[in-house]
Amino acid sequence: MKLLLRVAPGIVRKPLIASVILETGALVNIERASIDAVSGEIVLDVSQEKCRQVKDALERLGVDVILLEIPVIRDDSECVHCGACVAICPTGTFHFEDWRVVGEPGRCVQCGACVTACPHRALRLVLK
């Protein structure tokens, strides 16, 4: 399960992820992080069993947590199945099935590479 974390200025300097790992014992994978002096945005991958616990623990620390069920949305009226999104995705979210582009949104870490690469502007990141 993927969690999108938005970290507010007041707590961005705290070791939030480390605290949550110690508290929950969850194995988390940081898939994407952009953090500067004032705020941060992080995508975590957590097992389904630990997801609730990790989410609650982060929220207690003041982090805004969103469950990314469908991180990337495709507008099927614009997509022509060209494949410009296939080879550039670092996590293999899109592949061809009989030359139809099929998405597995669960793999998406919201890096946004496909959004700018799509010539038909058919892709959009949710909550962005």
Binding site: V80, A84, F96, A117, P119, R121
Partner: protein, 502 residues
């Protein structure tokens, strides 16, 4: 020799007995029945391609206003259309950007909006003559309001297209899509086995006057396209069709990020199987069609080829370049190419699409020579300074400060014992180190990821590197990476001011 005539084929289309297959089905039919058997069994092979065709455009006739206007300049939804064709004829190019939304909305988007039935805002400036006194007008038009909306595309349906990769260190955005650094991906375009010209590369049938499927309409081949180069396997078509008969499913605007707008078009050519030679040429397979993988990381006309591959390898999702396995993806839609071929097949079977006799074959000799450039443009070696002070990374910040005072530049290249560039420091880096007070060594302040140029690079490319990375100087290195000069933004401003440095 099994043979038949085009009139016999058309007779079968009219009486409903015609046998049509797509170019994907043909190779196994010829394998099984042999070319003579295939001529007896198959009347028409349909081809199809659906991809970005930048060299596309539209002639529009607006009708005469009252008072009449001779249009000098005109904009459709803020996209400029060429007005230098009589009074109220315009030519709209697919890649023309709009003045308000830039490349996100261009000529191709206007075409898609027209085909979708949307209203278009037209603004025109008049020249003002005795017979055409009106100086300007604004109106809102839909596709049906134009007298004619005739697509005339100078270069469509390339026989094949170079695959693209990028050996440079940064992601580049091209008309071949996003190319990841260090050959992170390969993009290709073209339908391979379904491509129209690849199924008739010697133009036994394809020629001027051949009726084709053009974005849902019945269009025509006008002749060979621009850059037509059949000797090298890169033939092209010039085509025309009536936009009013087209279908948005097969005509889609696109934008390649940091490149421009383009038009994805569906084009299908029917090929009658009149004789065994045509049966054999339409039995072409993906593996028979080879293209080079070209390095778009080199921003020059003559880009190096990294490997030779065929469409079967490209379509497999992975190709080998040297020792590296690289993921491939198409940029044109094979799904839609199939749909073009299948739709054309359906129209022929239903008797709605009859084949025409070409009036002249396409030329077997074309021309895609490089541009003759008559105005000389400078290279880095014509402009750079050859007196360059460089330092090694083991010296102190104070020594670097002394070196920079002696130098003409506020950049100091850092080299290793062999003179090979390994970093750069600027006066700003030295000031920061002095202000900090705790830093003493050059190795602590130098930038190690340093951009450089070479003496044989055109000055425009070096200027683009400076601009892209917001830097003001580039060390010039030889083939072995040794520093032989410096190029700074001062050299460029001197060049603009008309003073060639020594």
């Amino acid at each position: 020799m099994a043979e038949k005539t085009l009139s016999e084929v058309n007779e079968r289309i009219r009486d409903g007995s015609v046998r049509v297959v797509t170019a994907e089905e043909m190779p196994s039919i010829v394998d099984e029945l042999g070319p003579a058997g295939a001529v007896r069994e198959v009347d028409v092979v349909t081809t199809g391609t659906f991809g970005a065709m930048c060299s596309s455009g539209l002639f529009l006739n607006l009708g005469h206003s009252d008072p009449p206007i001779k249009i000098g300049r005109a904009w459709l939804n803020k996209v400029e259309a060429y007005g230098g064709v009589a009074a109220v004829d315009l030519f709209l190019g697919a890649t023309q950007p709009s003045i308000d939304r830039g490349i996100e909305y261009g000529g191709a988007h206007v075409m898609e909006d027209l085909v979708s039935g949307k209203a278009i805002e037209v603004e025109a400036e008049g020249v003002g003559t005795d017979c055409y006194p009106q100086l300007g007008l604004e109106t809102t038009l839909r596709l049906e309001d134009f007298n004619q909306a005739t697509m005339v595309n100078p270069r469509n349906a390339y026989q094949r297209y170079n695959a693209a990769t990028n050996s440079s260190q940064r992601t580049i955005h091209t008309y071949m899509g996003t190319l990841l650094p260090r050959m992170g991906n390969v993009h290709y375009s073209g339908a391979g086995v379904l491509n129209p010209i690849s199924n008739d590369p010697s133009f036994q049938y394809i020629g001027m006057g051949v009726r084709i499927f053009l974005a849902g309409s019945q269009g025509y081949i006008i002749g060979s396209g621009t850059q037509h180069n059949p000797q090298a396997g890169f033939a092209t078509l010039m085509v025309t069709g009536d936009l009013k008969q087209m279908d948005r499913r097969f005509l889609r605007a696109a934008t390649f990020t940091r490149y421009g707008s383009s038009l994805y078009l569906g084009i299908g050519v029917p090929i009658p199987i009149l004789n065994e030679r045509l049966a054999l040429s339409t039995a072409v397979r993906d593996r028979d069609i080879e293209v080079p993988v070209v390095d778009y990381g080199v921003p020059r006309r003559d880009r190096p080829s990294m490997a030779k591959v065929n469409y079967e390898q490209l379509k497999s999702g992975m190709v080998r370049i040297g020792r590296q396995e690289v993921a491939t993806s198409s940029l044109s839609s094979l799904l839609m190419a199939r749909e073009v071929a299948a739709t054309l097949k359906g129209s022929i079977e239903k008797g709605e699409f009859v084949l025409t006799q070409p009036v002249a074959p396409l030329s077997l000799a074309g021309s895609a020579r490089p541009m003759k450039q008559t105005k000389e443009f400078p290279y880095v070696e014509d402009v750079m300074s050859r007196e360059v002070v460089s330092v090694t990374e083991d010296i102190s910040v104070a020594e670097a400060a002394q070196a920079i005072i002696k130098s003409k530049f506020d950049h100091l290249p850092v080299v290793n014992s062999a003179g090979v560039l390994c970093g750069i420091i600027t006066t700003w880096d030295i000031s920061k180190a002095v202000a900090d007070g705790t830093i003493s060594q050059v190795s602590q302040i130098m930038t190690r990821n340093v951009f450089s140029t070479t003496p044989d690079q055109p000055i425009e490319l070096a200027a683009r590197t400076l601009d892209t990375h917001s830097i003001s100087a580039l060390p010039v290195v030889d083939q072995d990476g040794r520093v032989i000069g410096m190029l700074s933004s001062n050299h460029l401003s001197r060049l603009f001011a008309g003073r060639r440095p020594r």
